[in-house]
């Protein structure tokens, strides 16, 4: 019986069936599965397992058959084909290891603030066998590097603190930092504003506020100020003279803020005004001071124990294909 079962996996027919099933699963998952749930399902994992088993058994059979040839170890197309399929198998194993022992999460850290790892992290994925290392991470400084009129790079200096030892590492887009086996990648950034709001000398808000960045390129957010009042803040990196904002400038060379106070019940505006950094103004029933401007940065954090297998498998599959093409059937 086991031989019969094995026979199903080593047949050419089963290979085509598995690849075709994978193809149909991908199309179904992409077009008919909301939130891509099908790709994280048990059935997809089973399909990938079948693919791995088929690769393992078929490749093993090919290696055994090599002894039937007069020069089994001579460079020829057969070894190329074997290397390609082994490479794919190694990639699958690498993914499995990362899925079991790795993790992914994200965290927003404003400048000058330290976050606890992993306590402050929003975990996106976590393997059942992952063990966390505890440390703290502070965003010392974030900088927008100019490249003409565009942002050439976003550079953040992270301080990693563990057992009283501090290590500073730079993070840039396309250049993550690696600490204790965890990759820290820059994912998103925005502005943090220090706002002081008073109503008749009583402090209503004295805090740092992180403003969201939107796909339209604008920075705005809505907050609940009191039970009766909501507040909408729109940040402008550059204010022209007479308090007119420039919506096209990227660099915060002359930053300003548009403040709107909205009645929480009838949604009508109770006050609206513009203030520049360092200014205080009376808007509606409140005095508003915009005293400080910093950045916040969102980081993607991941641990990927299988990455070297994935890289090695990728290289093996490419080299195998090249050998397959170069080695000719005689």
């Amino acid at each position: 019986m086991p031989k019969k079962l094995l026979g199903h996996f080593v047949s050419a027919k089963s290979t085509i069936i598995i690849i075709a099933s994978l193809l149909m699963f991908i199309i179904a998952g992409f077009y008919f599965s909301s939130g891509m749930k099908l790709f994280k399902s048990f059935y997809f994992i089973i399909l990938l397992t079948f693919l791995g088993l088929s690769l393992l058994i078929c490749t093993g059979q090919r290696i055994v058959k090599l002894k039937n040839y007069s020069s089994p170890f001579q460079f020829n197309f057969r070894w190329g084909s074997i290397a390609f399929h082994i490479g794919l198998l190694i990639i699958l194993i690498g993914f499995a290891i990362s899925a079991l022992f790795g993790m992914r999460g994200k965290v927003i850290i404003p400048e000058g603030v330290a976050a606890k790892f992993p306590a402050d992290l929003e975990i996106v994925e976590q393997g059942p066998f992952h063990e966390y290392k505890n440390y703290q991470v502070g965003l010392n400084k974030m900088e927008l590097v100019r490249d003409g009129s565009v942002v050439g790079q976003v550079r953040g200096d992270l301080d990693f603190i563990r057992n009283a030892a501090v290590e500073r590492l730079a993070v840039e887009i396309n250049h993550p930092a690696k600490y204790q086996g965890y990759y820290w990648r820059s994912q998103e950034w925005g502005y943090t504003l220090k706002i002081l709001i008073k109503e008749k000398e009583a402090v209503v808000l004295d805090d740092y506020v992180n403003i969201a960045t939107h796909a339209d390129g604008l920075y705005y957010d809505k907050f609940t100020l009191t039970k009766q009042t909501d507040m909408r803040l729109q940040f402008f990196p550059y204010m022209r003279t007479k308090g007119v904002p420039d919506t096209t400038e990227i660099f915060p060379d002359n930053p300003g803020l548009k403040v709107e106070f909205i009645d929480a019940h009838n949604k009508g505006k109770t006050g609206e005004g513009f203030i520049s950094l360092g200014q205080e103004a009376i808007i509606g029933n409140y005095s508003v001071l915009f005293s400080e401007l910093d950045f916040w940065e969102q980081f993607d954090v991941s641990s990927d124990p299988g990455e070297w297998l994935i890289f090695f498998g990728g290289a093996a599959s490419i080299i195998g294909l090249a050998l397959r093409i170069m080695g000719r059937r005689k």
Partner: protein, 283 residues
């Protein structure tokens, strides 16, 4: 677009159009005439296309792999390059130019009509993996276009082989068995380039987004195209598929490649492959 680039762009397109007329006359007339002029025109067009790429690189400060126009002028150059190389290696494949050369000047025209404006590279695009990933993607498309052209010739030739008095143009085309061998070889080359594209793209995605694969529309269709060509190769080498069904399959496979490369990016503009969305929309 600089004046140099504009000038060489139109020289390139003009040469490609002129050589297409040569192929048409050869196909209709069944005889190769003025091959030296055709070869000279094709090389002028190819080198002018190369000059367009160089001029664009110098003006923009980066290799032309960013906008639709840049991608199209690069894939056109690679397609003509693959055609020039393949017709040296494989005899009697000049009529594949009827597919490759019109494809080249049409995509160049499309890119120009879209917008030849230079868009600076944002931080997300500034990686050496961009060049590797995109160039091998374009090279795989160039190889697949050639194999599709060979497959079309195969279908036409195999039909006329059954006739007693086939048209003279088919004497310019190799025998069906040779055509099939060439098509399979070109698919294998394209598959190798496609594999490098997928692997390099995954490594770059890991650096940029923190994960090798995100089931983004362009990623998904690239994988679909790769798997479809994988099925083609398995059917050929493991099941011994040959003949018209293999040639038709090659053409169907090309459809998935065209979808993954052009169509899906137009239909779903919010794909992660639009790297302006990655962190800063105004970058």
């Amino acid at each position: 677009m600089s004046e140099t680039e504009m000038m060489f762009f139109w020289i390139s397109i003009s040469c490609y159009i002129l050589v297409t007329f040569f192929y048409l006359f050869w196909f209709i007339g069944g005889k190769v005439k003025g091959e030296k002029i055709e070869t000279a025109l094709l090389w002028i067009g190819f080198l002018a296309n190369l000059e367009v790429l160089i001029a664009r690189t110098l003006t923009s400060g980066h290799l032309p792999v960013r906008t639709l126009y840049e991608l199209n002028i690069t894939v056109a150059w690679l397609t003509v390059g693959v055609f020039l190389w393949a017709r040296r290696v494989y005899d009697k494949t000049v009529l594949v130019g009827l597919i490759c050369i019109p494809f080249s000047f049409l995509v160049m025209g499309w890119g120009f009509a879209d917008s030849p404006d230079i868009i600076p590279l944002t931080a997300a695009y500034k990686s050496n993996w961009l060049v590797v990933h995109v160039l091998f993607a374009l090279l795989s498309t160039a190889c697949y276009i050639f194999s599709a052209g060979i497959s079309i010739l195969y279908i036409l030739k195999s039909r006329v082989s059954l006739k007693e008095d086939p048209a003279a143009c088919y004497s310019l085309v190799p025998e069906p068995a040779q055509l099939e061998r060439i098509a399979v070889n070109m698919v294998m080359l394209g598959f190798l380039a496609g594999t490098i594209m997928l692997v390099s793209g995954s490594i770059w995605a890991k650096l940029l987004w923190g994960k090798y694969w995100g089931w983004d529309p362009v990623e998904t269709w690239s994988l679909i195209s790769w798997l479809v060509y994988g099925i083609y190769l398995h059917l050929r080498f493991t099941f011994g598929w040959h003949g018209k069904k293999l040639a038709v399959l090659c053409l169907l496979c090309l459809v998935t490649n065209v979808v993954s490369f052009w169509t899906i990016g137009i239909v779903t503009p919010d794909t992660y492959h639009n790297l302006d969305q990655i962190t800063r929309p105004l970058d």
